[in-house]
């Protein structure tokens, strides 16, 4: 079972999040602990899936990594540099290496700009093209890459369907040749038949350009399909982190189990006999100190020292069954 897992030790860390805390209205009565001490790494070339319900802090995590927020405490390193220490003059280069694809393809494209100007905005800002001809050539190249045609360049966003708009958003993100892309629920606003198209596109581009993704979503089956490793988030904390197969086939934390048991599958017989598992959040709120502990190699669970043995026994049982 374990030999399928990527060997993280040998791979280069591209993003490293260390004890990140993001509080809103800190110190006031309406303080919200959106992210409460999370740590994880994203390796170069992998897709890291971040799953959780609404309000779990998954989008906030993405936004903190791209420095749309200033963290309350903790560090985020990108390619070895602490992003909070990036000087204003170096910010442009940082923004070029890290791009974002947003959830809502209707709200994230400027309705008054032509598609070619939307896609080329990054090229202009970063001075990546010398003249109009080069700019058009690059836009056409990007349109080809995401499966749109050249005559789409002079149209406006409202002339496109949701799936096509999401392709425009992807082309815009790719224009500046980033190394790392944060995709915040990139497919949840799309129809089923179109979701698969966009997911395949993201995969193809990743292979071609050796991109690293942070894929944020609540659709667990799609996340499992696209991710190498998955972290499950709840109430601003990571509950479990492991390879996609481990999280799905051998979940250890009760919250992960409960979440998985709620995923509907297109199989009537399975659905008729499905038993949902409830979740008792006292395991998070009983006041005991918990942190992510490595239960088996590469598989982390939020636990106290005392709970580790129990999880290890559970993991053992899974592997005996295999």
């Amino acid at each position: 079972m374990m030999q399928n897992n990527p060997q993280p030790q040998e791979r280069k860390k591209l993003v490293e999040v260390k004890h990140l805390k993001q509080y809103f209205n800190a110190g006031r009565r309406n303080e919200v602990k959106a992210i409460d001490d999370i740590s994880f790494e994203i390796y170069e070339g992998e897709t890291f899936g971040l799953v959780g319900e609404s309000g779990s802090g998954k989008s906030t995590t993405g936004r903190s990594i791209i420095r749309l927020y200033t963290p309350t405490s903790g560090e985020i390193e990108f390619n070895g540099t602490d992003i909070s220490k990036i000087k204003h003059k170096d910010m442009l280069q940082f923004r070029r290496e890290m791009q974002m694809i947003f959830q809502d393809p209707y709200a994230s494209l400027n309705p008054r700009m032509k598609v070619k100007d939307i896609i080329a905005e990054g090229l202009d800002i970063h001075h990546l093209v010398k003249n109009e001809a080069e700019r058009d050539a690059r836009v056409n190249e990007l349109l080809d890459l995401v499966g749109l045609s050249h005559d789409h360049a002079t149209r406006y966003p409202h002339e496109f369907s949701g799936g096509q708009r999401q392709r425009i958003g992807i082309a815009r993100a790719l224009a500046v040749e980033p190394r790392f892309i944060i995709a915040d629920e990139p497919i949840s606003a799309l129809d089923v038949s179109i979701q698969a198209q966009v997911v395949n596109l993201l995969r193809d581009i990743q292979k071609e350009q050796n991109l690293t993704y942070l894929f944020i979503a609540h659709d667990l089956s799609m996340v499992k399909y696209i991710s190498d490793r998955i972290a499950v988030m709840h109430n601003g904390r990571l509950m479990e982190l492991s390879s996609a197969d481990e999280v799905y086939n051998h979940p250890l934390h009760p919250y992960t189990k409960s979440l998985l048991s709620a995923v509907p599958l297109p199989d009537p017989f399975y659905e008729r006999n499905r038993h949902r598992k409830g979740y008792d959040d006292r395991i998070e709120t009983d006041g005991q100190l918990r942190s992510l502990k490595e239960i088996v190699p590469g598989h982390f669970v939020l636990a106290t020292e005392e709970e580790v043995a129990g999880y290890q026994a559970a993991a053992e049982e899974y592997h005996l069954d295999d």
């Binding site: 319900e53 089923v192 799609m222 499992k224 017989f269």
Partner: protein, 364 residues
């Protein structure tokens, strides 16, 4: 089985600046008493327009050009506004997709739940409020008594959807229409709402039309399924037949493009292209340009419904006796094998065949 609602040859056009959009093209279906019928399709396939016509809630630029909707011996499409108002929210009620926008933010929830009772004039205000409290308790709002005077913003998304459901069922409707009731919700909340709807169906014996694009949800809730594409129903059957023995290439594509937990292949199957523009609907099968199995005739003539079993019909020329034999995709064959296994083990019922194959009588 008793039919409670029957839609026949429904055709709805929308007048737009660009011309007349043929949103619903000859749709036929019925709803049996006590069952859950799921209507599946992507955005623009006409599923919401179909149910809105049942509720008499069509937009002003919509025109019903033909068809009838038979409910208790009356054609809903021929009723006056006043007569429809008596049915809406009383005999037939609806749950909308977005619980954030379908509640009045300025009205306490108890009053909102009691409103249908007061409008339909069946009881005094005091009685209505008592009933509202009872129904809120039924849909799982804990401590309903003390929350009657709370406003929608004081509830979470899942609780708001429960309140929306309470409003819809307070009159114990005979038909409950749910238009993507769980799409805006998290999976865990979605599962709770679906369990709730199943439970309520047993308690108040209502029939449900459930609209969604999520096939996982359909597998869990539906008794029968109708698949819509480009304003037409292209396949319908029992939930087992649609999921384990689908016949239309569009249904194949839909089932195939969902990753299951054991999908290992490198790529997901994606239906190529986009749905057709219904300003000028194609002459033949609207799915043909996206269909790898399309034959010459698919571009020429609309396929009629071919019978697979007494309850299962599909509109695809592939089922014509003269059509060349085609192999469905591997994942679909796996489903069919699973079907055979489950039938052999007696876990699901073998669908009945009255006669071998053939075209449905009323097909053109």
């Amino acid at each position: 089985m008793e039919k409670i609602l029957e839609v026949k040859d429904l055709q709805i056009d929308f007048d737009t600046f660009a011309g007349s959009v043929k949103a619903i093209r000859n749709v036929d279906f019925h709803l049996n008493k006590g069952e859950t019928l799921a209507i599946v399709g992507e955005s623009g396939s006409g599923k919401s327009v179909t149910v809105r016509s049942i509720m008499g809630l069509l937009a002003n630029n919509a025109q019903v050009t033909s068809g009838s909707i038979d409910f208790k011996g009356r054609d809903i499409l021929k009723l006056s506004n006043r007569e429809i108002e008596k049915i809406r929210g009383n005999d037939i009620s609806m749950i909308f997709q977005d619980p954030m926008t379908s509640l009045d933010p300025t009205m306490p929830i108890g009053k909102q739940v009691a409103e249908p009772l007061l409008i339909h004039g069946s009881m005094s205000k005091k009685k209505a409020m008592a009933r509202a409290e009872e129904v809120l308790e039924l849909v799982g709002i804990t401590n309903a008594k003390n929350r009657m005077k709370d406003y929608p913003h004081q509830f979470s998304g899942g609780q708001r959807q429960r309140i929306v459901i309470a409003i819809a069922i307070v009159n114990y409707p005979e038909i409950l229409i749910a238009d993507e009731p769980t799409t805006a919700l998290d999976v865990t909340i979605q599962a709770q709402i679906i369990d709730l709807m199943k439970e309520l169906q047993n308690k108040i014996e209502t029939s449900i039309i459930f609209i969604t694009h999520d096939l996982g949800v359909v597998a869990g809730i539906a008794d029968r399924v109708a698949v819509m594409y480009a304003g037409k129903i292209i396949e319908y059957g029992s939930v087992d037949e649609i999921f384990y023995n689908p016949q239309h290439p569009y249904t194949w594509g839909l089932l195939n493009s969902m990753p299951t937990l054991d999908t290992d292949s490198d790529r997901l199957y994606a239906i190529p292209g986009t749905p057709p523009n219904l300003l000028n609907p194609p002459k033949g099968d609207a799915f043909a340009p996206r269909n790898p199995y399309a034959m010459a005739i698919d571009y020429e003539a609309m396929p009629p419904f071919f019978k697979i079993s007494d309850t299962h019909y599909a509109a695809t020329w592939l089922l014509h006796p003269d059509a060349p034999k085609t192999e469905p995709p591997v994942a679909i064959k796996k489903r069919q094998a699973e079907f055979q296994r489950l039938v052999a083990e007696g876990k699901i019922n073998q669908p009945e065949y009255e006669e071998e194959g053939g075209v449905k009588d009323d097909a053109e």
